[in-house]
Amino acid sequence: MSMLEIEKLNVWFGHGRDRVDAVKDASFTVARGESFGLVGESGSGKSTILRAISGLAPLWSGRMVVDGLALGKVRPKTFYKTVQMVFQDPYASLHPRHSVDQVLGETLQLHGFKDIDARVVKLLDDVGLGQKFRFRYPHQLSGGQRQRVAIARALAPQPALLLLDEPTSALDVSVQAEILNLLVDLRREHALTYVMVSHDLSVVGHMCERLAVMKGGEIVEVMGVDTLRRMEAKHPYSQSLLAASV
């Protein structure tokens, strides 16, 4: 059974004359345990698809099925035990006045866990931070460490599907390598399914098995990563993206 099915998804912002169609008739499926990439330039609608899945973009039509459950306008609370998201900018995705302990503790509490202390310790170990970071505030952490905290927060409810919105584009290349390695390991250990958005073809090529190329809100091509590596993209736009990134 597939983990995620998207069929004829349309997402828009605003009403009437101000309406902007961000995603048009997008369809793809992601198998359980697979890592799927969404590639495109800014404004192509790739992040909007993630926000629609997670419920942060309320205006949409079409069909979205996560883990066999068709999504409606309102997400049940159990939905967030299945789907979690990591945001692009680690400097903006952590509350500036909450310590790492508060961030993880509150998340665990919201999901109804009882053994919070033990779980916070475990989560920090999982993302390679260790206990000395537990009571630090975001301004005492580097960009890479913050992104690790954000990943720990996403892992807290033990989700099956992780939505990654350009998780490394705000980081230096050496830190990017550390975070990407962490994501590869976590996926293996926790049998996670990834949907990863990136503008960087080589990052998606490294992380994903299949990818969709987006342009102007539409998916122009879905291909396997081998096709990408052999430079055999069919659509002229995918070819131009490939040419520009090598």
């Binding site: 330039e41 800014s42 960009g143 230096d172 290349v173 050496s174 830190v175 990017q176 390598a177 550390e178 990407l180 390695n181 590869v184 503008h199 073809l201 080589s202 990052v203 090529g205 490294h206 992380m207 990408l228 590596r229 131009s240 993206l241 520009a244 990134s245 090598v246």
Partner: protein, 285 residues
């Protein structure tokens, strides 16, 4: 090769409660009529170096140098008033995000014309014609419409081209570009770089290109300085960057994912404290 700029033993210091923090530590290099790349990670001091040349470090930061010689004039000896004549006129700077560099409530045309008339005593009509010419030089089609537009109506690539056009109006000897294409999509990035390249070549300017992107710099520049913890750790010809020797440069290159060489895990940079202790390599020719 003729030397346009000679920087010798440049330091940027920030005194704080915990002691003095050195952002740039004894950097020396020269710039001829070439494209000089400065690469490094965030916090390596690459942007500080660019700003320090123009003495644009905000208080409490302090700039110290044996000399920053611009065609024989030592910029370190100039007063703040004399520096204002250097900035823009002889050395221009292009920043990362054009949105913050353009005035949001003035049309683009008005801003270019104002910038042009600040440096040249000409009539409004002449300045208008010149502004159109500048926009066309940076490959902006439909320049008359762009002149009437406001900055928020422009895409990132357009905005950056307009910034470059404005910076080139006074015909500076040196252009400092601080991550000029980092906010742009790859396809637009290429166009902006091509325009910059053409202008620099045609006018015989010196270009200092500051970036975190190794591949981009290797592709675009002639010579590359690699900075780490405020020092230059290595200098190499841009086309020889793949043969770089310093473990830091090698580590950066190896940590990039590559489409043609799939790996299970990426190589992680192991930082050696000795790198930041070693004296800065001189980039003077």
């Amino acid at each position: 090769m003729e030397t346009l700029l000679d920087v010798e033993d440049l330091w940027v210091k920030f005194p704080s409660r915990q002691g003095v923090f050195d952002a740039v530590r004894g950097v020396s290099f020269t710039l001829g009529r070439e494209r000089l790349g400065i690469v490094g990670e965030s916090g390596s001091g690459k942007s500080m170096t660019g700003r320090a040349i123009l003495r644009l470090i905000r208080s409490p930061g302090i700039v110290e140098a044996t000399q920053i010689s611009l065609g024989g004039d030592d910029l370190m000896k100039k007063t703040e008033k004399e520096m204002r004549a250097v900035r823009g006129k002889r050395i221009s700077m292009v920043m990362q995000d054009p949105k913050f560099s353009l005035n949001p409530v003035m049309t683009i045309g008005a801003q270019i014309i104002e910038a042009y008339r600040q440096h040249n005593k000409v009539s409004h009509a002449d300045a208008y014609a010149k502004a159109l010419e500048m926009l066309e030089a940076v490959s902006i089609r439909d320049a008359e419409r762009v002149m009437r537009a406001y900055p928020h109506e422009m895409s990132g690539g357009m905005g950056q081209r307009i910034m470059i056009a404005m910076m080139l109006i006074p015909n500076p000897e040196i252009l400092i570009a601080d991550e000029p294409t980092s906010a742009l999509d790859v396809s637009v990035q290429r166009q902006v770089l091509d325009i910059m390249d053409k202008l620099v070549k045609d006018r015989g300017m010196g270009l200092i290109f500051i970036s975190h992107d190794l591949n981009l710099v290797a592709d675009f520049c002639d010579r590359v300085l690699i900075m780490y913890a405020g020092r230059i750790v290595e200098i190499c010809k841009a086309d020889k960057l793949n043969e770089a020797k310093h473990p830091y440069t090698r580590g950066l290159l190896n940590s990039l994912p590559r489409l043609d060489a799939p790996r299970d895990h990426l190589e992680v940079l192991k930082r050696d404290p000795a790198w930041s202790e070693a004296p800065s390599v001189s980039g003077r020719v």
